[in-house]
């Protein structure tokens, strides 16, 4: 009997583990009013900014406290690993910090569950201070309301390996600009030198860049004729060996590592990556080519972060004032100069730092990216969750392997995404 209990216990422990902590409770308490006095203590949670930007964040906090006597901001920084889990645990316990750093895809489920303060309702006057496309990224499409102050933006150039291009007889100064050129050059690269061009199957943002209508009328729609045409192009590249085999399973990080190892010839990236190549892959850095993103729409893809104020905050007025302060033009420009990112405020981008080159590669990437951002679009719909990303990756793998036609794979991916939407 003793042994049975012991073994049953053994089995129960790890099985119960994965879901421990997700309760039925969940609070969406409305906390304090947004129009109260700016005073008292609040907590500000950031996404992996320590220790590199400790001085910057402390400086912003000091300036805010000086401007608003009687306020005190407690800063907590969470590492990127497990950030989502921390937000999830706090959200289900109804104890989110007063000001949280979240990208749109994280603010969306929180806003949908009624956990975030609507800025359109409570701080409408702040709207003109930000770029319109950035403000829109924190809206719930079709339902209105904005649930986060846009913070920093980024858009990527594409990086390519000039040495591999040259070896395959491609012009190293003419990287692909459209998806048609991408396929042509990828096939040439694969046929002549057996070098793979890409390390990843298309992401949902790539569908947007290709010109596919990804999401319309509250439904995913990327299984239209254009979407099928896009996947078929990838299938031809996959069959020719223009995608590495790992492309079927890996995400952005995995693809980045393969590009650094010079196993692929082209990869989308950000200004931040250039510094990484310099230190971690000097032989790649010596041959690096930098170009504008591959797009059929004329617009680049944009990534952004923001700060949101939960409704459960006991000090909403101070939290909102601080959120607006952290993301104002002055603070954003200062931050952008430190961190290879770009301000989301309507004025920040005019700073000469983002408009003039000084001859270095970094400045060239920066100025080009700042220019792209003016027309950039966040092609990843905020509704696109982790589970949907996985579903798309899996269906695309089946299409690449020929287990399904491109149309069938996309139909299945869209059906799964729409089911998860509910």
């Amino acid at each position: 009997m003793k042994r049975r209990t012991f073994l049953a216990g053994l089995a129960a422990l790890p099985v119960a583990g994965p879901l421990a902590g997700c309760g039925l409770g969940g609070s969406t308490g409305s906390g304090s009013s947004a129009s109260g006095q700016v005073t008292g203590e609040i907590t500000f949670q950031t996404w992996s900014l320590k220790p590199k930007y400790t001085d910057y964040v402390n400086g912003v906090i000091d300036a805010f406290q000086k401007q608003h006597q009687g306020t005190s901001v407690k800063w907590v920084d969470q590492p990127a690993d497990g950030y989502l889990a921390k937000v999830m645990a706090d959200a289900s316990a109804g104890s989110l910090p007063d000001v949280i750093n979240v990208p749109p895809d994280l603010s969306f489920p929180l806003a949908k569950a009624g956990q975030l303060v609507d800025l359109d309702q409570n701080l409408k006057e702040a709207k003109p201070e930000y770029l319109e496309n950035a403000w829109q990224a924190f809206e719930i499409p079709g339902k209105g309301g904005c649930y986060g102050f846009p913070w920093y933006l980024n858009t990527g150039p594409i990086f390519y390996n000039k040495a591999l291009f040259t070896q395959a007889g491609l012009d190293p100064d003419k990287p692909p600009k459209t998806f048609k050129e991408l396929e042509e050059q990828a096939l040439k690269l694969a046929q002549s030198k057996k070098i793979a061009m890409l390390g990843q199957t298309p992401t949902i943002a790539d569908f947007g860049l290709y010109g596919v209508k990804v999401f319309e009328n509250d439904k995913f729609t990327f299984n239209d004729a254009k979407g099928v045409e896009f996947v078929e192009s990838y299938k031809r590249m996959y069959d020719a060996g223009a995608l590495i085999p790992e492309a079927l399973t890996q995400n952005y990080t995995g693809a980045g590592a393969k590009f650094m190892a010079q196993q692929t010839a082209l990869n989308p990236g950000s200004a931040y990556d250039l510094g990484k190549f310099k230190t971690d892959a000097p032989s790649l850095y010596a041959n690096i080519g930098i170009s504008t993103p591959i797009t059929n729409t004329g617009s680049a893809n944009m990534f952004l972060h923001g700060v949101s104020v939960p409704r459960s905050s006991k000090n909403q007025a101070t939290a909102l004032a601080f959120g607006r302060f952290v993301t104002n033009a002055e603070n954003q420009v200062k931050f952008a100069k430190l961190a290879s990112i770009f301000p989301s405020t309507s004025k920040g981008g005019d700073d000469p730092y983002f408009t003039t080159e000084d001859g270095t590669d970094e400045a060239r990437v920066r100025v080009a990216a700042a220019k792209q951002l003016k027309t950039a679009v966040n092609y990843t719909p905020v509704q696109f969750s982790d589970q949907m990303r996985e579903a798309l990756l899996q269906q695309l793998a089946d299409a690449m392997l020929g287990k399904k036609s491109a149309k069938q794979a996309l139909d299945d991916a869209v059906a799964e995404c729409n089911r998860l939407l509910k």
Binding site: R4, A12, A16, L19, A20, A91, S92, P245
Partner: protein, 289 residues
């Protein structure tokens, strides 16, 4: 001396409180959640057996169950036999045996993530193994990009990681096998192989059942090996997803379907409990023979 009936409970209280908080309550919560459509952000309506009906019709569930079963069948026999053979070698007192024992035990204490990364580098399409294969004139093998090979590669990692752990269990059991049994068998003219089958194996049978049960449970609920070798994707098209991976993929994140993931966890629990009961029953029946 007066006997107060509550005294033992006072001593048990801290332990009970911890296990109630972190084991029993989450477990009960999981059972409740499995009958709801709860999301990660709380809430959820009671939906009866909907989650279980959905599971029965969900090809992903059947695929994951099949993969977990295959995994278990693949890892249990090697994990019952190989550590026993290694333990018999490691049991010998010869110079340098400490290095040998340490070498086999190191994978047990190594972090799963580190182990996963090392094996990924080895088995990658451009990894060490494939470079050797190509240098010998062969074509590159998709250890991590073919769903069947990915499962087999993960099994190899599980076996490699488990060898040292089960070796220690066998070493302890071997120390308890009476020496005179071996001596008597030798006197009767039994060779080493005969002694292995007729003395060592019968004496170690309860330990072998324990190792089989533990490795079966661990094999059925494999996660880290598959997760790390497939880059978190469950293989191309998710074709190598196992039960725990499916639970993780379903329930993770703010948008996770916690209700359905709980239902999957409950089914996994019942399967594992069933497996253990069968093993124990077999063991007891053999004891009585």
């Amino acid at each position: 001396m007066t006997h107060r009936p509550y005294t033992p409970w006072l001593f048990l209280l801290p332990g009970l409180a911890v296990s109630f908080m972190f084991v029993i309550f989450p477990f009960l919560n999981m059972i409740v959640l499995s009958f709801t459509d709860a999301s990660a952000l709380g809430g959820g309506q009671f939906t009866g057996v909907d989650n279980f009906v959905r599971m029965a019709e969900d090809p992903k569930f059947w695929l994951a169950a099949r993969n977990s079963l295959l995994y278990m069948v693949g890892v249990v026999p090697p994990l019952v036999l190989l550590p026993l053979l290694i333990a018999m070698l490691a049991q010998k007192i010869v110079p340098g045996i400490g290095i040998f024992r340490t070498a086999f035990f190191t994978p047990v204490i190594a972090s799963a993530v580190v182990v996963g990364l090392i094996w990924t580098w080895l088995l990658d399409s451009r990894g060490l193994v494939n470079n050797v294969v190509e240098a010998l004139g062969g074509t590159r093998i998709g250890f991590l990009t073919d769903s069947t090979l990915l499962l087999i590669s993960s099994m190899v990692v599980t076996i490699w990681r488990g060898l040292g752990y089960y070796m220690v269990i066998y070493l302890a059991a071997l120390a308890n096998v009476p020496k005179d049994l071996h001596e008597a068998a030798m006197v009767d003219g039994a060779g080493p192989i005969r002694r292995f089958w007729s003395v060592t194996v019968p004496a170690l049978r309860p330990t072998m059942v324990l190792v089989a049960a533990l490795s079966a449970v661990n094999g059925f609920r494999v996660f880290s090996e598959i997760y790390l070798l497939s880059g978190g994707s469950g293989g191309p098209g998710g074709a190598s997803t196992t039960m725990v991976m499916l639970i993780q993929l379903t329930g993770r994140g703010l948008t996770g379907e916690v209700g359905y993931a709980s239902a999957l966890s409950l089914v996994l629990f019942v399967i594992l409990l069933g497996l253990l009961l069968i093993t124990l029953k077999l063991n007891r029946r053999e004891d009585q023979l």
